[in-house]
Subunit: 208 residues, 2 copies
């Protein structure tokens, strides 16, 4: 049995949706950022990074969304969530997810987590002013090529789709220029109507 | 035939070493940051992100180091560069590489690439002052648990090892507290003595 530690409105939603998509048996536990539960000794014993998501499996704990998504796809091959038998196509999936993790999510993180990389309030304000530009630019590469359509990888839904949907939740808060991202917004709307997505979102928001 | 676009002293070295480790047939082409070749129309046509690395394969272009490393491991299974038949062990490899990409490399990037996330010189100076602390903290999690020893994943050398070695090249420049990282430094020294590592490094530095 898998246990997913999540916090609403964070990237843990991607793995939550993927577990639904996989038909996995799993439980969830909410980590409250407002109560700083991610820094509690009990949680740090599970994830020394003091962040979400973390996923407890029978073999041990996994972290890092791209790795967790690939693990879910490989552990539940019948769900066909990634092209597992094609190293190049699998690498395209992974490259997309790595870009979300290390470029798009990082741009977003400068709105609220500037203290990771600087100390001065003036720097935090400067970072926050830049977020609309950097987040929009990050999504424009997706809009104009990486999102093949109708799903990220084309005709087949993969683990890229819940991850893109999750980060696209933050566009308005980040002040992104939505007029430049019609295909990303259409993908987000179609994702939001899927039963598995609605279920995962409802579970996360019901506990807040 | 694979072609790797690299720039000396960047994370492209990880894939370069892995291609050597895989016994792959490949060529390399140097992209000069000082000449801003990464922004040239010819290179942007290959990698719209205008960054290195990029790897041209018979099927198309791949980017993002974690995805490229997994692709190399999967494409050359006889080299045994990752536990390909064990989704959990493979996920541990990927989680390590994702952490390097999205946490350690990002901390480092605030020394020279602050313009990605801010605009003011005062912010860049603030970011640069923080780099020794954030990079040391990122490597301390590796020092105290993630690096199992003798190799990252324990007894077996994997695609994690060239990636850790590559980012550990930057420790002195980032002002990290080396006294806190003896196991990371020992790993770096042992890596630097491997013939494949020496060859990849020599090729990259010979062209500068």
């Amino acid at each position: 049995m898998i246990k997913l530690y999540f916090t609403p409105h964070t990237c843990s939603l991607a793995s939550h949706i993927a577990l639904e998509d996989a038909g996995a048996e799993y439980t969830t536990e909410r980590i409250s950022f407002s109560a700083e539960q991610q820094k509690s000794p009990a949680y740090v014993a599970i994830n020394p990074k003091a962040r979400v998501p973390a996923m407890v499996t029978e073999r041990g704990v996994l972290t890092e969304t791209p790795a967790m998504l690939a693990f879910i796809a490989q552990s539940f091959p019948q769900a066909k969530l990634a092209p597992l038998d094609d190293p190049f196509a699998f690498a395209e999936v992974q490259a997309f997810n790595s870009y979300l993790c290390s470029t798009v999510h990082i741009s977003h993180a400068h709105r609220m987590r500037g203290y990771r990389w600087a100390d001065e309030p003036s720097s935090f304000a400067d970072m926050q002013r830049k977020v609309p530009q950097s987040v929009t630019a990050g999504f424009e590469l997706i809009e104009h090529g990486m999102l093949k359509g109708p799903w990220v990888m084309g005709d087949s839904y993969t683990i890229c789709d819940p991850y893109l949907f999750t980060l696209a939740q933050w566009l308005e808060g980040d002040g992104a220029d939505l007029t430049r991202l019609p295909r990303v917004l259409d993908h987000r709307r179609r994702m939001s109507e899927l039963p598995n997505v609605r279920k995962a979102v409802a579970v996360e928001l019901a506990r807040t």
